[in-house]
Symmetry: C2
Subunit: 207 residues, 2 copies
């Protein structure tokens, strides 16, 4: 059933709304929406942690190359031509109990392994630099068909990432190994993805 406003327009929850009206190729729209659920859940979680003063983590704005801006009199500057740029870092960073936190959240529809193509070399490079400086760096891997989230240390990711260019040539991380090396995060209501208790363990084990 479609819920409608009194004016007849259909009601969309935030989760349905991609934040932008789309035109043209439908494929892009589908592609763009993939991952919105995970992003929403992470955003809700970091907002909860901020509001409760537990951790100050923000999502970085989408990097955009601005080409043309109109400055109409008496109204806000309007960007009329811009393009998406590739991010040079991960999406999320911040601070928790004095520790620098840096992570990326990615999802797959696969059921048995996580494809490495979800990551990019520059993100890996950035995560390596942050690990070298002593940050707590990780990825949240979401298997959407299994509804399972895993905390996976960046250090472990690097091994699989680097190996794909060497002997193994394996382009994904088997779920069995993610279960062994990673830590499952049980979804809750608020925060939906409670990753701070996992970080507490990491800090405790000086890992």
């Amino acid at each position: 059933m479609v819920i409608r406003y009194p004016n007849g327009k259909p009601y969309h929850t935030n989760r349905d709304k991609p934040g932008a009206k789309k035109q043209g190729a439908k494929k892009s729209l589908t592609h763009k929406n993939r991952g919105m659920r995970l992003e929403d859940d992470i955003n809700q979680s970091i907002e909860y942690y901020r509001k409760t003063n537990q951790a100050i983590i923000h999502k970085k704005p989408t990097p955009v190359q601005i080409v043309n801006v109109d400055y109409p009199k008496r109204s806000a500057a309007k960007i009329t031509e811009a393009y998406f740029r590739k991010a040079s870092t991960t999406d999320y960073n911040g601070i928790y109990k004095g520790h620098y936190i840096d992570f990326e959240a990615k999802e797959t529809k696969n059921k048995t392994s996580f494809p490495l193509k979800n990551f990019h070399q520059h993100q890996i490079d950035h995560m390596k630099q942050c690990v070298d400086q002593g940050g707590i760096v990780f990825v949240i891997l979401y298997f959407s068909k299994l509804q399972k989230h895993y905390y996976f240390k960046a250090k472990d990711l690097f091994i699989y990432w680097d190996n794909q260019f060497k002997e193994s040539k394996k382009k994904s991380i088997p779920l069995s190994e993610i279960k062994k090396l990673g830590i499952a995060i049980q979804i809750e209501i608020s925060p939906r993805i409670p990753f701070l208790p996992v970080i507490d363990k990491i800090i405790q084990n000086n890992d």
Copy 2:
């Protein structure tokens, strides 16, 4: 003299280029360019620190509210309507020797005091949250007419910020007090604004 490309188009250095062609009100252009020199100098400095693996600090992308996107076939998605949003954090954050670093860089043409109107309540709130979590949080105050940069601790800024709403009502920080509480940063070639040695002092003094 204007240097021109072979096609006759004038050559602009990165410093001249505001990153966007402007239309309409000239005032906005002037206002927008104010502070570009400082931003360039900070960007050059953090890039230098990243390349030399001394600190991993990035400028956050400008937050933009995307309203309309075209997906032309066989070419990149084009944003055709978007608006600037207010940032909910500071512009710069990252990690240095295991410490979370968070700062903002602002400039004034004033010669005797730094106007507090350069900051916004939400930035102050964000900086307070980061200080509470144990981050190294500061502002770089630039007096453009004097060509002087100062490292000024966020904790000190909070006092002046909060006081403006209380008894003092003072809307600026006198330069004399910035000289007393802050630390002058001598400009160099690379990095242009060497702020890491100042942070080293702060770490040493457990400040």
